[in-house]
Symmetry: C2
Subunit: 239 residues, 2 copies
DNA sequence: GTATAATTGTGTATAGGTCACACATTGGTA
DNA sequence: TACCAATGTGTGACCTATACACAATTATAC
């Protein structure tokens, strides 16, 4: 079969120029949690086509870097953070999704503790937006955001990743508020607590909340060892 | 910020040539079900680097076609089938994944009724392989296959997609064999039947199997209307 | 045509998970 | 010292998961 694919394999850079008219980018949906709301970090588009619209943080992928690496690079550049939770979700490849040419974009989402990021907010093109209040975005970024939010929603049902959005120590109330914000539902407090203790992911810090205008709750932290060693209960995480 | 991304947006085709050194392809994991085994359609690689190894069916994406369209094109070309179930899974973008240059590949899987495809098997480079017996594949295709199989396994827990792998009419025994083949587990026959009837996805054809050397079972077909209208039972699909 | 083999079709009991629900306790604040 | 606002805790009804056995049906071999 004398296909372009196979010619390409033998001599990828010198032939078949027609296949090198596509650029590839990564777009990062950076989630944070603040004031009991799930937020996403956006940048103001300075393009005429998308005047005054917000967009996700993205960048073209370099020929010599892995796709994941490109995504980490965007995150590091925009937030100053390494070592963040990052997950690839979907690749958006409609011909006309980018007004200036063919750009295929792979979407990632990441979860960061918003307080770690505050110092970088001096970049005044960047802002945290409550996910619930976002209408249109530039390009197809609203679709990308929705897709990533759905993935996040289903992921947290089985996997202990929400801890990336919280400080090291947190109260059960904060944890429940976070689940409620992500899933857009209200949960029963007693059942929520019961299930989390059943999961055995939390380590009691023997400390209490500070500066709350009411009875303080106990502080916990996530214990990854318990997760990996955990007995497999059949209980689902979310109430 | 004067980034290449933003320059690119204004004048994508004439600048930043460095970003146009990446080719993008799609790879299709085409699943079929035959003789109580889950199978995948592979092609023999004719490359020196992968002498005698098998690979997935893939092709470069054209500048003027959507990513999904490219995937359908590969399927149509290799199987002659339109109108198949197709789902994007993940994009593989390691720099060194392709020996001859930078190729980022988006993986899809599809589910086809293997009997519809038999006539095309005259293409003697193409063969169905039992998924369980596959060792190494060319490129990173074993990883791609494993990733797609995992996605399939989790997808069938909630979504009625396995019907794409069966003839229109099938017995409950065939359906159970299929679930067992995909998930690699044995299930209890009574519980399996009970749950499927609870789901209310099946329509009784009032026909019996033909040409089986024992008592024939009833034939059913999938009824998509019942799926969309279905009362949401909390039962999970798989036993 | 009768016996045999292979498979279909069916129900129940137990254990465990889901969910709804109320009150005493604690610490902060006025 | 009284009040406020939250934390921390247990039980019962319902539903789901799972394990498990036997009669009915058809094809086949004799």
């Amino acid at each position: 079969m004398g296909t372009a694919m196979q010619r390409t394999i033998r001599q990828l850079r010198s032939e078949d120029r027609e296949f090198f008219q596509i650029a590839i980018s990564v777009d990062c949906v950076i989630f944070g949690f603040d004031k009991n709301e799930l937020k996403v970090l956006l940048i103001k588009s300075d393009l005429e086509e998308f005047n005054n619209q917000w967009s996700l943080l993205g960048y073209l992928v370099r020929p010599d870097e892995n796709l994941d690496t490109a995504s980490y690079r965007v995150l590091k550049h925009r937030t100053g953070l390494d070592d963040v939770y990052l997950e690839q979700v979907y690749t958006f490849g409609e011909v006309s999704r980018h007004p200036a040419g063919r750009v295929i974009s792979t979407a990632y989402y990441s979860l960061i503790n918003i307080k770690d990021h505050q110092p970088m907010l001096t970049d005044n093109e960047l802002h945290w937006h409550p996910v619930n209040e976002i209408g249109a975005l530039a390009f197809d970024h609203k679709t990308i955001l929705d897709t990533c939010l759905q993935r996040l929603q289903s992921k947290i049902e089985d996997h202990p990743i929400v801890f990336n959005l919280l400080p090291e120590k947190f109260s059960l109330r904060e944890l429940q508020n976070l689940y409620e914000a992500i899933l857009g539902v209200k949960m029963d407090r007693r059942n929520f607590r019961k299930k989390f203790f059943l999961m055995n992911w939390l380590e009691d810090m023997n400390e209490l909340e500070q500066d709350v205008p009411h009875r303080p709750g106990k502080l916990y932290r996530f214990n990854a060892t318990r997760f990996s060693n955990g007995k497999k209960t059949q209980a689902t995480l979310v109430v």
